[in-house]
């Protein structure tokens, strides 16, 4: 199925309409990339500042307790929402969906453009939060009431309002984007592109978009209710409380209600980031191992089941808030069940590599790094999913290590792998490989150097979200040495991300020119008449799809790959045998 062929509408336009107010999904994707990278850079600097305070307390005088909590909050929120979610859905989703399904554009291009500008507005509001009286909020990225809006918490006057308004704006932007992605996948696929012929990248982004449409409303609702508590004095989440010796006038609200709403969004959010990463890494591994993905159907089922299960595990983030033991049992069980489809995916990636013609290109290196970091992060998730283990480890550095491995480093590895893979399609040039290898090895080894010791610190009982760790008898002095080591590692890894940014810019001008399909990929995005693709993507005629996206090393073929739009030439039997 596809939208009518309206190639004539994709003519040349003025600079403003082509690059600023563009409705071309590729330009919008790049706008998303640039904005998310820019705000991600802010989050990177904030993480450096936090680590300097922990590793070398007092080294930077301007970091007091308030500033530390503000950095911590903004770092978390930016990374999860404004960088990873925006980049995977807004960036990769926008660029790849229409190209991979053979469409000319998103089905609602104007809405798509609006989605980006609202996202940009959300980012601007967020950044403005730094400069309002009292600074940005320091409530932690979970924004738990009552402390988030009471005096004593940094940014409780204006910072929290800017944060909430920014989040609500982001949700509206994400909804506009999500509507576009889902409708485009379901309504605008080209001839022959059945759902089960779609590359797993599209499956991942499609299901993540559906999840976003269902989960983000919870953030929207909780954001509005907290804004009402803060500005209008309602008591949705605010209990009767004495704050700083004063009665702020709240009564009977439920902070737990906020936690339920927040995590009803917050846990699916993990998979909103992870599923596109799963999809992309599947395609990278298959292409760079020159082998069809192992268990394609299982991979699709796993994506769908992970999405469904992720909506019934949220309260495992709330074990320490207190709940009926039967609920604890239920949420622990569902959390462990979700490990099954996830494990299937890990096995299938590994089995795809098994006996593959593995090319150790940068996308492949980052993909393998993803499997490794995701596996480690996932295994510690099994620890934390159990109530009895979670209680002592909750709010320690073990949790910090877990989610940074599984939701931080793992998806970031995929982002890098994907950028190295698709950069030639976007720019027509290859990224510099030497710089890329430096970037990869330092990032990969560095991520272990940073987060492996954190598990140990967590088991020691080192609490997270503390500004300073002096005079705690249960934390041995050696922990400080480890903290200093982690900080040095984090600074080095951070610096090499700047090298990556340099590579992006340098290669754009000086990079080696890429051939039309440098990785010899089968999926449709590499089969456009022009690389980089022009507005409308497909020239006069949209492609027809004849096969799935993983025909690598098909017996009886001289080439080791068959693009999806290559018709069948008396080869049915070969396929049936496989």
């Amino acid at each position: 199925m596809t939208a009518p062929d309206t190639h004539s509408t994709y003519g040349p336009q003025s600079f403003w309409w082509k690059y600023i107010w563009s409705q071309d999904h590729k330009v919008i994707a790049i706008q998303y990339f640039i904005t998310s990278l820019a705000i991600g850079l802010v989050a990177l600097v904030l993480s450096w500042l936090m680590r300097i305070q922990i590793g070398f307390p007092g080294a930077l005088e301007f970091i007091d307790a308030n500033a530390y909590y503000q950095f911590l909050t903004m770092h978390g929120m930016i990374m999860v929402i404004y960088l990873l979610t925006a980049m995977f859905l807004g960036g990769f989703g926008n660029y790849l969906i229409p190209l991979m399904i053979g469409a000319r554009d998103m089905v609602f291009p104007f809405l798509n453009m609006l989605s980006y500008w609202l996202y940009l507005l959300a980012v601007i509001i967020l950044v403005c939060g730094f400069f309002v009286p009292g600074g940005s909020t320091g409530a932690g990225w979970t924004l738990y009431p009552p402390q988030a809006i009471l005096p004593g918490t940094p940014g409780s006057d204006w910072g929290i309002i800017f944060m909430l308004v920014s989040l609500v704006t982001f949700v509206i932007a994400a909804t506009m984007g999500g509507l576009n992605y889902v409708t485009t996948v379901l309504q605008a696929r080209t001839r022959g592109m059945t759902l089960m012929r779609m590359p797993l990248t599209v499956w991942g982004i499609f299901i993540a978009s559906l999840m976003a449409l269902l989960a983000f409303p919870a953030l929207f609702v909780s954001g509005l209710m907290m804004l009402s508590d803060k500005i209008l004095g309602s008591s949705f989440f605010m209990p009767a409380i004495i704050s700083m010796g004063q009665d702020p006038g709240y009564s009977g609200g439920s902070p737990i209600l906020f936690q339920h709403l927040f995590w009803f969004f917050g846990h699916p959010e993990v998979y909103i980031v992870a599923l596109p990463a799963f999809g992309i890494v599947s395609d990278l591994i298959s292409c760079h191992a020159r082998k069809g993905i192992f268990g394609y159907r299982m991979m699709v089922w796993a994506i769908v089941s992970i999405a469904a299960l992720s909506f019934i595990v949220w309260a495992h983030h709330m074990y320490v808030s207190g709940m009926n033991p039967l609920f604890g049992f239920f949420f622990a069980t569902t959390t462990l069940i979700i490990a099954v489809p996830t494990a299937i995916k890990v096995y299938n990636w590994t089995l795809t590599l098994w006996q593959g013609d593995i090319h150790l290109t940068l996308p492949m290196l980052f993909s393998v790094a993803f499997i490794s970091t995701f596996l480690i992060g996932g295994l510690t998730g099994l620890f934390l999913g159990n109530v009895i283990v979670d209680l002592p480890l909750s709010d320690t550095y073990f949790v910090v290590a877990h989610f940074h491995m599984v939701m931080g480093m793992a998806p970031v590895m995929v982002v890098f792998g994907a950028i190295y893979h698709w950069y030639p399609m976007v720019t027509g040039r290859l990224l510099n490989t030497t710089l890329g290898h430096w970037h990869f090895w330092v990032t990969f080894i560095g991520s272990y150097a940073i987060y492996f010791p954190m598990h140990y610190l967590g088991i020691l009982g080192m609490p997270r979200r503390y500004y300073a760790y002096e005079d705690y008898s249960f934390i041995p002095p050696s922990a400080q040495d480890l903290n200093a080591f982690i900080t040095v590692a984090a600074l080095i890894v951070g610096f090499f991300q700047l090298l990556f940014l340099f590579n992006l810019i340098y290669s754009f001008f000086r990079g080696e020119k890429a051939s039309a399909n440098p990785w010899r990929a089968t999926s449709l995005e590499w089969q456009t008449p022009d690389i980089p693709p022009t507005h409308g993507n497909w020239g006069a005629q949209q492609p027809t799809v004849y096969r799935w996206a993983y025909d690598f090393n098909v017996p009886g073929h001289s080439s080791d790959f068959i693009p999806q739009n290559t018709p069948v030439m008396n080869e049915g039997k070969d396929h049936e045998i496989r």
Partner: protein, 221 residues
């Protein structure tokens, strides 16, 4: 079931010789728009369903006062039902206009325009009625911060009214189309108008259903 069957396909077994393109159906922009709108309504429904969940959870705390506004709410609801009904009649009237091969009779055009105008005006009337209800409650001392039931009431009705206003803005666009003589000239232009009215009617009905869900919640608790 269809989705499960789809997921059971084995794409690696059946590279085809153009079979899929033989069964290829062009999705027109109208059905894409309708699909997108229904998806949007589903998302709006989720937003309000979450409010319902939060409301139910909060209402168990036992510190909730009832709001004295049942009859007014029912009256306002009847305005919204009327609006939705009229819009539906206008839209079905367009079916007749669409079937017409010749120019559409002036009388039918007038009838549709008139019904369309009434639908929009009554929707606006609903919003105004909701605002006056809120003002009345405030005057009686039921301020937003006084009780959780009040807070939920104002937030839910406010957000619903905002969605209605969004619909009214779209209605204005459709109404402008309705008044353009060109919109009635050819089958294609009539089809375009019919499509816009269909989208508008779908949105109206969707918001009515959501409001009925909210009303039952407000009346039952």
């Amino acid at each position: 079931m269809r989705f499960v069957n789809t997921l059971a396909e084995k794409p690696w077994l059946n590279p085809d010789d153009g079979q899929a393109s033989a069964n290829y159906m062009v999705q027109d922009q109208a059905s894409i728009n309708l699909f997108g709108l229904r998806l949007l309504l589903a998302v709006i429904f989720v937003v309000f369903a979450l409010f319902v969940g939060a409301y139910n959870m909060r209402m168990t705390y036992g510190d909730v006062n009832d709001l004295p506004m049942h009859w007014r709410l029912i009256l306002n609801t009847s305005i919204l039902i009327f609006s939705s009904l009229i819009l539906h009649i206008a839209y079905t009237g367009m079916d007749k206009a669409l079937a017409s091969k010749q120019a559409v009779e002036i009388q039918l055009q007038r009838r549709i325009k008139c019904l369309y105008l009434i639908a929009g005006m009554t929707a606006l009337m609903f919003v105004v009625a909701q605002i006056t209800l809120c003002q009345q409650l405030m005057n009686l001392g039921y301020s937003l911060a006084a009780n959780p039931a009040n807070s939920f009431f104002y937030l839910i009705t406010g957000l619903h009214a905002l969605h209605i206003i969004g619909g009214v803005i779209y209605w204005c666009y459709c109404y402008r189309l309705c008044w353009q003589t060109d919109s009635w000239k050819t089958t294609e232009t009539r089809q375009a108008l019919h499509h816009q009215m269909r989208l508008c009617a779908n949105y109206w009905h969707g918001l009515l259903l959501i409001w009925l869900m909210l009303l039952s919640l407000l009346l039952m608790t």
